[in-house]
C-alpha cells in the first residue's frame, strides 16, 4: 500500500500557466506519418525494454510509424543544441535533466513548453513534487518553477549496496544510524579490509560527500543550493561536517587514497569482485549487480538520512522544431500508461506511475520500495553537481585534493565555493 501511496502521489504544485488544453489532440491520427524518437538507454535496460513496447503500442493506436534512433549519452549531450537548432531535430527525445542541460536548452528556446499537454493528459497528477522539480524550468533555465519542458517516466536514487556474505562473516547487522555505519566501517578496517569501494575521478565520492552534508540538512537547504533561492555557503555546518567526516574516513583507511586514480567503473568492479564490501552509488548499478555479483548482496538507504541524492530519471522533451508534436505527446502518454510503467518496474527500473500489485519481481520490489520510502519522506535531494555546468568536474578535482591531502579541508571548501559561485553566476547572470 505504501507503494501505491507514493507511486500515485498527487501533485501539490499547480500545472503550467500556459494556454488551455483545447489545442492538444489527445487522439491524433498518424497514418502516413513518422515519429522520430531519440534515446540513449540500452535496449536491454529496463527503460529500453519498456519503451520498445511503448513504440509498438503507439503504432497500434495511432497508425504512425516510429523511426527509433539509439544515440550515445555523450552524442546527445554534446550536440543537442546544434541538432535541435536545425531541421533534423527529432520529434521526441530523451534528455538529461537539470539546469545545465534541459534548463539551458529551454532558456534558449529550443524546447517546446509542453504545459498544455501536461494539462490535457493529466501527467502532473502522476508525478510527486520532487519529481516535478526537474521537469519545470524558469525563463533563465533554473529548475523547480516555470513552464513544463519535459516529463520523466522513471526515477533514480543513490543507496548503499552491501556484500551480505561479508557482513555475515563478521557478524554485522545493517546499520541504522551514522554511528553504527561508522562502526561497520571500522570492523572491516580492523580485518584489513578497506570497506568502501570509491572513485574520486568520477561521481561516487562526490555523492558520498553530498550525502554526508544532507544528514542534518532540510528541504530548504537543498532548494537553496539547487535553485539559488539563497546563497549556498560551503563553510556552513553541513558542508564542513561532511568534508571533515570524509577526510577522517580517508585517514582511518575506510576509503583508499588510491580512489583518486579510479573511475566509477573501477569502484563498481571492486564491489563486484568482493574486494570492498560496501558501495554507495546509484540505482543504475542495480541491473549490473543482479547479473554480475557472485555473492549474496542487498541494499539499504544511507543510515540515518532523510534526504539522499536522487531525482526523476531523464526527461522526454519535445524539440521546438518538431512537426509532429501531438504524436510526440501521445507517445509520451503511452510511456506513462500503467502497462508500460509496470513493464518498466518488472524489468528492473523504477517506474513513477506503476500499479504496485503488478510488480512481481522480488528484486525489483526491493529497489522500488527503497525509492518509495525516500520519495514518501520527500527525500530526493537531486545531485551535488547540478547547480553549475562545470561543477561535476570541479567537485571531483576538489575531492581528489581532499583525498590526497594536498589541500586542507578548509581550502577544499573554499575552492568549491569559488567554483560554485562562478558557475551560478554564469547561469543566473
Amino acid at each position: 500500500m505504501a507503494l501505491a501511496a507514493t507511486l500515485l502521489v498527487t501533485a501539490c504544485s499547480g500545472g503550467s500557466d500556459a494556454a488551455g488544453s483545447s489545442d492538444i489532440d489527445t487522439a491524433p491520427k498518424g497514418e502516413g506519418q513518422t515519429l522520430t524518437v531519440w534515446t540513449y538507454e540500452d535496449k536491454t535496460s529496463a527503460m529500453g525494454i519498456a519503451w520498445e513496447e511503448a513504440m509498438k503500442k503507439f503504432t497500434e493506436e495511432t497508425g504512425a510509424k516510429v523511426d527509433f534512433q539509439l544515440k550515445s549519452f555523450e552524442q546527445i549531450n554534446q550536440s543537442a543544441s546544434q541538432v535541435l537548432n536545425s531541421d533534423s531535430a527529432p520529434d521526441v527525445m530523451e534528455y538529461n535533466k537539470g539546469n545545465a542541460t534541459s534548463g539551458l536548452l529551454s532558456s534558449q528556446g529550443l524546447l517546446t513548453d509542453i504545459g498544455p499537454a501536461v494539462e490535457a493528459y493529466g501527467w502532473a497528477d502522476k508525478l510527486s513534487s520532487s519529481l516535478q522539480t526537474t521537469a519545470r524550468y524558469s525563463d533563465t533555465g533554473v529548475m523547480g518553477s516555470g513552464n513544463w519542458y519535459g516529463i520523466p517516466n522513471y526515477g533514480e536514487y543513490v543507496q548503499v549496496y552491501y556484500n551480505k556474505d561479508l557482513f555475515k562473516k563478521y557478524d554485522l547487522e545493517v546499520p541504522t544510524t551514522l554511528d553504527e555505519f561508522t562502526q561497520v566501517l571500522q570492523t572491516f578496517k580492523d580485518q584489513g579490509i578497506t570497506p568502501l569501494a570509491e572513485s574520486a575521478q568520477e561521481y561516487p565520492l562526490g555523492q558520498l560527500l553530498y550525502q554526508l552534508a544532507l544528514m542534518n540538512a532540510d528541504r530548504k537547504w537543498v532548494t537553496d543550493y539547487q535553485t539559488y533561492t539563497a546563497p549556498a555557503d560551503f563553510h556552513d555546518a553541513n558542508w564542513t561536517a561532511a568534508a571533515n567526516t570524509l577526510k577522517e574516513w580517508v585517514d582511518k583507511g575506510y576509503i583508499s587514497k588510491n580512489s583518486t586514480g579510479q573511475k566509477a567503473q573501477d569502484a563498481g568492479d571492486a564491489f563486484i569482485a568482493g574486494t570492498n564490501p560496501i558501495f554507495f552509488s546509484g540505482s543504475w548499478w542495480y541491473g549490473n549487480f543482479t547479473t554480475s555479483n557472485k555473492f549474496d548482496w542487498g541494499t539499504f538507504l544511507f543510515p540515518g538520512a532523510k534526504l539522499s541524492p536522487g531525482s526523476s530519471g531523464n526527461l522526454w522533451v519535445v524539440p521546438e522544431n518538431s512537426d509532429a508534436k501531438d504524436l510526440a505527446y501521445k507517445f509520451m502518454d503511452i510511456t506513462m500508461s500503467p502497462e508500460i510503467q509496470n513493464l518498466l518496474g518488472n524489468s528492473g527500473g523504477i517506474p513513477v506511475a506503476a500499479e504496485p500489485d503488478a510488480i512481481t519481481d522480488e528484486k525489483s520490489k526491493d529497489l522500488i520500495t527503497n525509492f518509495t520510502t525516500l520519495n514518501d519522506q520527500d527525500g530526493l535531494a537531486f545531485y551535488p553537481d547540478w547547480p553549475a555546468p562545470t561543477f561535476y568536474a570541479d567537485l571531483n578535482s576538489s575531492l581528489q585534493e581532499l583525498v590526497n591531502g594536498s589541500k586542507p579541508v578548509d581550502a577544499v571548501l573554499d575552492q568549491l565555493q569559488t567554483d560554485y559561485d562562478k558557475g551560478v553566476k554564469e547561469i543566473d547572470g
Binding site: A100, S256, N258, G261, Q262, D266
Partner: protein, 299 residues
C-alpha cells in the same frame, strides 16, 4: 611576355585560396570575434569587449595550463628529439652497417608503432597499466621486490603530469627516428668513412657529420612537435581529464571544457585564441631561425 604568362598561375591558386578561407581564415576570425563576446552556443553572442581577456590574465587555471605545456614541450620535443637523434644515428651508423637492412627496418618500425596507435586506445591501455590497485606497473614493481615504489600514478598530483609526459615520450619517439633516418640516407657514407680513417670517434662523427647534415629535418621535427605539444589534448582527456585537482590541465583541454561543459563559448574562444597566438609566435620564430641559418650557410 613573362608577366602575361605568370598571370595564368593565379587561377590555380583559387581553389586552395577558397578552401583556406572557408576552413581556416573564417573560423579563425569568428573565433577571435567570439573571444570578445558572452555566448552560450545557441542564442546570438553578446559583445562584452575585453572582459574575457581580462579574466584570462587573472585565471590561475589558465596560467597553470601553460606551465604544463612547458612540461609537454619537454616530453614531446626535447626528449624525443634528443633520443631520436641518438637512436637514428645508432641504427644507421652501427646497426645498419653491421647487420642487414631488415633488422634496421624492423627496429625502426618498432619505434614508430606507438605513432600509429590511436591515442584513445593507447590511453586506455596505459590507464590499465597505471591503475593504482591492480595495474601492471604496480604489480611488476611488487614482483621484482620494489613494492615500496608502488604509487597511485595518475591519481597523485606529484606524478600525474609526469606519468602523462612519460607516455608522450614513448608515443613521440618514433617520429624523429623515422624522419632522421631518412635524412641520414642523404649523407654520403664516404664522409663517415673518411672521418673514421682520420681517427674521428663516434661522437665526433655524430657531431660534425650527422648533426650538421640533417639540420633542416631537426628544424622540421622540433617545429611540428612543439606545435603538437602546445595543442596536446587526447592523452589528458583520456587519462586524467585535467586532474587530480588541476594538476594536468593543458590549454586545449581547458578550452574544450569551457566550450562544451561550462557552455562559456566566449571564454573558451579566448583561451583558443591565446593558444593560437602562442603557436603562431613559436612557428614564426622557428621558421625565421631556419631561414637565418640557411642564409648563413649559403654565405
Amino acid at each position: 611576355m613573362r608577366s602575361e604568362s605568370r598571370k595564368g598561375y593565379w587561377l590555380y591558386l583559387i581553389p586552395g585560396a577558397i578552401l583556406l578561407t572557408v576552413i581556416i581564415i573564417v573560423p579563425l576570425a569568428w573565433n577571435v570575434y567570439l573571444s570578445f563576446t558572452r555566448y552560450r552556443g545557441i542564442k546570438p553572442p553578446i559583445w562584452i569587449g575585453l572582459d574575457n581577456w581580462k579574466e584570462l590574465f587573472q585565471d590561475a587555471d589558465f596560467w597553470a595550463s601553460f606551465q604544463h605545456s612547458i612540461v609537454m614541450v619537454v616530453a614531446m620535443v626535447i626528449l624525443p628529439t634528443a633520443f631520436g637523434l641518438f637512436l637514428a644515428s645508432l641504427l644507421f651508423d652501427l646497426v645498419g652497417r653491421r647487420f642487414n637492412g631488415k633488422i634496421m627496418g624492423l627496429l625502426r618500425a618498432v619505434y614508430y608503432l606507438p605513432q600509429i596507435l590511436p591515442i584513445a586506445i593507447a590511453a586506455i591501455v596505459v590507464g590499465w597499466i597505471l591503475r593504482p590497485e591492480d595495474g601492471a606497473l604496480n604489480d611488476l614493481l611488487k614482483a621484482v621486490g620494489l613494492g615500496g615504489f608502488q604509487h597511485n600514478w595518475l591519481g597523485s598530483p606529484d606524478t600525474a603530469l609526469l606519468s602523462i609526459a612519460a607516455v608522450l615520450v614513448w608515443i613521440q619517439i618514433g617520429y624523429p627516428v623515422v624522419v632522421f633516418m631518412s635524412a641520414l640516407q642523404r649523407i654520403d657514407p664516404q664522409l663517415y668513412e673518411a672521418a673514421e680513417l682520420d681517427g674521428a670517434n663516434w661522437f665526433q662523427r655524430f657531431r660534425a657529420i650527422t648533426l650538421a647534415g640533417i639540420r633542416p629535418e631537426i628544424f622540421v621535427v622540433v617545429l611540428t612537435c612543439t606545435v603538437a605539444a602546445l595543442k596536446v589534448f587526447g592523452p589528458v582527456y583520456a587519462l586524467t581529464r585535467g586532474g587530480p585537482g588541476s594538476s594536468t590541465i593543458v590549454p586545449s583541454y581547458y578550452s574544450y571544457t569551457e566550450f562544451f561543459t561550462a557552455q562559456r563559448v566566449g571564454y573558451g574562444a579566448t583561451i583558443a585564441t591565446a593558444l593560437t597566438v602562442v603557436v603562431l609566435a613559436v612557428a614564426i620564430f622557428f621558421v625565421r631561425a631556419q631561414f637565418r641559418l640557411a642564409d648563413q650557410e649559403e654565405q
